[in-house]
């Protein structure tokens, strides 16, 4: 590390991703465009109403981009948040005389609180629970708005909602909404490129891997939902000001479904897609109106056809079709990968200690009192026949499973009760037998998530990127950095996973069958890579079936069978151990 050259800031600045002012020129153009549109828009009537609705809705739909597009959580109450925002603004301004701006902030805040509350209740569980909880919330909210006449004005709604001082005219107010829309677009776009945004996308693509990359999965989801709710609140508040009238039936479940359709139709992974979708769904039925009675039927059919022919959404399709494609990243030097455990120098001190570890699934004892230690700076192999408990062991020490009993210590700290991301924070990173890369992201972004491990020694975006590039240099994938990770061959995806784990500068690296699924050339390359890592003195715990690979790199071997440790010694001794031979002969070794 001391020999590292200074970060070539000037070079890095050439990377679009590292420019602090990224997207700002576009935003300024957008703001100018917003003012021009507002000035040219009709001062009243149908087209104005259409534009107002589309603009305020687009802000709400941008919220869906964050929660669904980035974080992968289905929310079916976005219209509900619009409604809460609209009602908060309406009631505060008309009943209590609160100024518009303050009421708007209050609307966002209250929506955010509702979002956090719902998120806390449902996001600990994966998958569709948020969808279910939000459907219920949406239905109940509509009933409350309709029936709690004392608060909400009942089915008549609230009318006479004022606009902010100085923005009473249609042009000025539309201008205000458009400017906010442009800012929201900018925010959502920059969020995607930020550390938080990458964390969200990691959670979307692979929750388990995100956790072992050090991402607090639950918190990330709750934050995404909170942001989404706040954007819904902002859209709702502006909606209320635009139409000066709100009623419960404007914010029903059906509207939430419409907003979801807008986001997905346009392309939910980009705020621009959502914007496109919102406007498209305004224009599409409008354009179909010559069909009279049948137009809604045709519109429904069109939604199906769009999904069939452009399933990534219109924006996703356009980006693929007309996008400039990934630009390769240049060849300038970055500081080499600092491998922290080099300090340890095969010292004999234990990096990882496992004592009496047991993991029972019902009556099955997958691990039954395993104890051993991994010395700092060593390559420690864990072998055993299929079903002997190796992967379970790795899942227990990385925190994916909670051990039935026993202790895991990393560098002297007990990890027993800690969730995966906390273990990662303390210096443990891992790879998976079935590759778990973040498929929606580029190679570089995948590795940057690794470099963003909490507890790592890099923090500034440029440093994070330099570290990620260094890790890619190390595995030889620098040239593929800007490719989508899914486009790489299988073996290279495994390297991406290894680079992701290395970029976090771990104390201990856990490799789960790194050679699985590789062809013989790739296995040789992997062997070379592991030997280089060994040369750097990184502490590695590797599970592997390929004995040639093990013999080439391992300092120490532990053998598991039926959840028990049957041998624990140097390779030479272990491979002569009668129990080990019996275990392997008893069950043929897989190819």
């Amino acid at each position: 590390m001391d020999g590292a050259t200074a970060p070539p800031a000037a070079m890095l600045a050439k990377l679009p991703a590292a420019r602090w002012w990224r997207g700002m020129p576009g935003t300024v153009l957008g703001l100018i465009g917003a003012c021009v549109i507002a000035a040219l828009a009709p001062g009243q009537g149908y087209y104005l109403n259409i534009i107002m609705q589309a603009v305020t809705y687009a802000i709400g739909v941008a919220g869906l981009v964050v929660v669904l597009g980035y974080c992968g959580q289905i929310s079916l109450t976005q219209a509900g948040f619009l409604g809460i925002g609209a009602y908060v603004l309406a009631l505060l301004t008309t009943q209590l005389g609160v100024p518009f701006l303050a009421a708007t902030l209050a609307a966002m805040l209250i929506c955010g609180l509702f979002g956090l509350l719902l998120g806390f209740a449902s996001l600990r569980l994966g998958g569709h629970y948020l969808a279910m909880v939000t459907i219920s919330f949406q239905v109940i909210l509509t009933l409350v708005l309709t029936n709690w006449v004392g608060l909400s004005g009942g089915p008549d709604g609230v009318s006479g909602i004022p606009r902010p001082a100085g923005f009473a005219s249609a042009h000025a107010y539309l201008g205000l909404c458009l400017v906010l829309l442009v800012l929201v677009m900018f925010y959502a776009w920059r969020l995607k490129l930020s550390r938080l945004g990458r964390a969200m996308q990691a959670v979307r693509d692979n929750e388990i891997a995100a956790g072992t990359c050090g991402i607090h999965v639950f918190r990330t989801k709750v934050v995404a939902f909170g942001i989404s709710a706040m954007l819904g609140g902002l859209g709702g508040a502006l909606f209320a000001g635009a139409f000066s009238y709100v009623s419960p039936d404007q914010f029903t479940f059906d509207e939430s479904v419409v907003m979801l359709t807008m986001a997905l139709l346009g392309g939910v992974r980009s705020p621009f897609g959502a914007l496109l979708g919102t406007f498209a769904l305004v224009i599409l039925p409008e354009w179909l109106r010559f069909l009279k009675q049948a137009y809604l039927a045709v519109y429904g059919g069109a939604v199906i056809l769009i999904m069939i022919f452009v399933p990534e959404g219109v924006w996703g399709w356009a980006a693929q079709r007309f996008g400039r494609g990934a630009r390769p990243i240049g060849e300038w030097p970055v500081p080499p990968l600092p491998l922290l455990s080099m300090r340890g120098e095969n010292s004999g001190e234990n990096a990882l200690e496992v004592a009496d570890l047991a993991m029972h699934f019902g009556g099955v004892k997958a691990l039954d009192g395993v104890s051993f230690a991994v010395r700092r700076g060593s390559v420690h192999a864990l072998i055993g026949p299929n079903g002997s408990g190796k992967t379970t062991f790795l899942n227990v020490i990385s925190g994916l499973y909670r051990a039935t009993s026993g202790t895991v210590r990393l560098g002297g700290t007990t990890l027993d009760r800690l969730p995966p991301h906390e273990r990662t924070r303390r210096g443990m990173t891992r790879t998976y037998q079935n590759i778990r890369v973040f498929r929606g992201l580029s190679v570089l972004e995948n590795v940057m998530i690794g470099a963003e491990r909490p507890g790592n020694d890099v923090h500034k975006p440029a440093d994070v990127m330099a570290r990620a590039l260094a890790a890619l240099d190390f595995v030889g994938l620098r040239r593929e950095a800007s490719q989508p990770v899914g486009s790489l061959p299988y073996g290279h995806q495994r390297y991406v996973e290894i680079a992701r784990a290395l970029a976090g500068s771990p104390e201990v690296l856990l490799l789960d069958e790194p050679a699985a699924g590789l062809n013989s050339t790739e296995k040789q390359e992997l062997g070379l890579l592991l030997r280089r890592l060994k040369g750097h003195g990184l502490t590695i715990l590797v599970i592997e079936h390929d004995m040639k690979l093990i013999e080439a790199v391992a300092d120490h071997i532990t053998v598991l069978n039926f959840g028990k440790c049957i041998a624990n010694s140097t390779p030479r001794e272990v491979l002569r151990h009668p129990d080990v031979i019996a275990a392997y002969l008893g069950e043929p070794q897989p190819a």
């Binding site: 219920s136 359709t261 059919g301």
Partner: protein
């Protein structure tokens, strides 16, 4: 107020049985194809309209119209699968959801354009409206619905647990790749499930039509409740769907009688929230768990 309890229980179970049958079709699609079908309620609406047209328009006898509606809807289920699901089967679940949302807009509006907006009546299965049993008026249609719901559960059990077809369906729903390797036609199984699911939807529709009338909006009234029933019971669980339907039916009926009528629609969802918080995998446990 306790005097009305038996009547409330009867009606609650009756309306719950409707939700249960509608929910059953929903669950099967989730299990076989991982499709959350937003157009499920529209199967009921279409089934009821087909029966109406056969009965009033064509003049087919009652039972024939009833059965034909269900059978024709099974055929429609295959068409539906071909148009809405099949082209997207390799895409994300969300893409399919939006596609079914498209269908849930298309179907009622197509019926509206063809048939017009007037709601209509269909006679019940029996000429008699019902009979009195102590303090309870036993509505003959609700009684038919309850009996048919029980029959459907038995049929479901027999088909799924006791026949080769059922075993193939189960294998398909648990692991498509493995099923394909075992020589099971996954496509055939999925299409069959769509047909069966549409037929179940239609059955719920023709059964509820005499109570609720045949209207373009009837599908929406049923579907959301059927969905909630499915979650309360456990996402993807068949006995759960039945139990969930009954719970919602009873919660609505009892809640409306003893707590508040305007909030009737909320009770089912409040229970849903309570169940999710207390027992997140639903009462019967979730079958489709994410593999770690």
């Amino acid at each position: 107020m306790l005097a009305i309890l038996p009547q409330l229980l009867y009606t609650g179970v009756g309306i719950g049985a409707v939700y249960a049958i509608a929910s059953l079709g929903f669950v099967l699609l989730i299990r076989a194809a991982d499709v959350v079908n937003f157009a499920q309620g529209q199967f009921s609406m279409l089934g009821a309209y087909i029966m109406l047209v056969l009965l009033v328009g064509v003049g087919v006898p009652y039972w024939a119209a009833f059965l034909l509606a269900v059978v024709l809807m099974a055929g429609f289920g295959v068409l539906f699968a071909g148009a809405v699901y099949w082209p997207l089967r390799h895409r994300s679940q969300l893409t399919v959801i939006i596609s079914t949302i498209g269908a849930s807009i298309l179907l009622p509006n197509a019926v509206l354009a063809i048939y017009g907006p007037s709601p209509a009546t269909v006679p019940g299965l029996f000429a008699s409206q019902g009979f009195r049993l102590g303090s309870v008026f036993v509505d003959s249609q609700y009684l038919s619905i309850i009996v048919i719901a029980i029959l459907m559960v038995v049929l479901q059990y027999v088909v799924f647990e006791k026949t080769l077809l059922g075993k193939k369906l189960q294998a398909t729903s648990q692991d498509k790749e493995m099923a394909a390797m075992l020589g099971i036609s996954v496509a055939g199984m999925v299409l069959f499930t769509f047909a069966y699911s549409a037929a179940l939807g239609a059955l719920a529709g023709v059964l509820v039509a005499p109570v609720l009338f045949v209207s373009v909006g009837m599908g929406a009234t049923l579907a959301l409740k059927a969905f909630a029933a499915n979650i309360i019971g456990g996402y993807g669980s068949i006995p759960g769907a039945i139990l969930g339907g009954l719970i919602i039916g009873l919660a609505e009926t009892l809640g409306a009688a003893y707590i508040s009528t305007p909030y009737k629609d909320a009770f089912g969802f409040v229970i849903l929230l309570i169940v999710l918080l207390a027992r997140p995998r639903g009462l019967f446990g979730e079958l489709i768990a994410e593999k770690a």
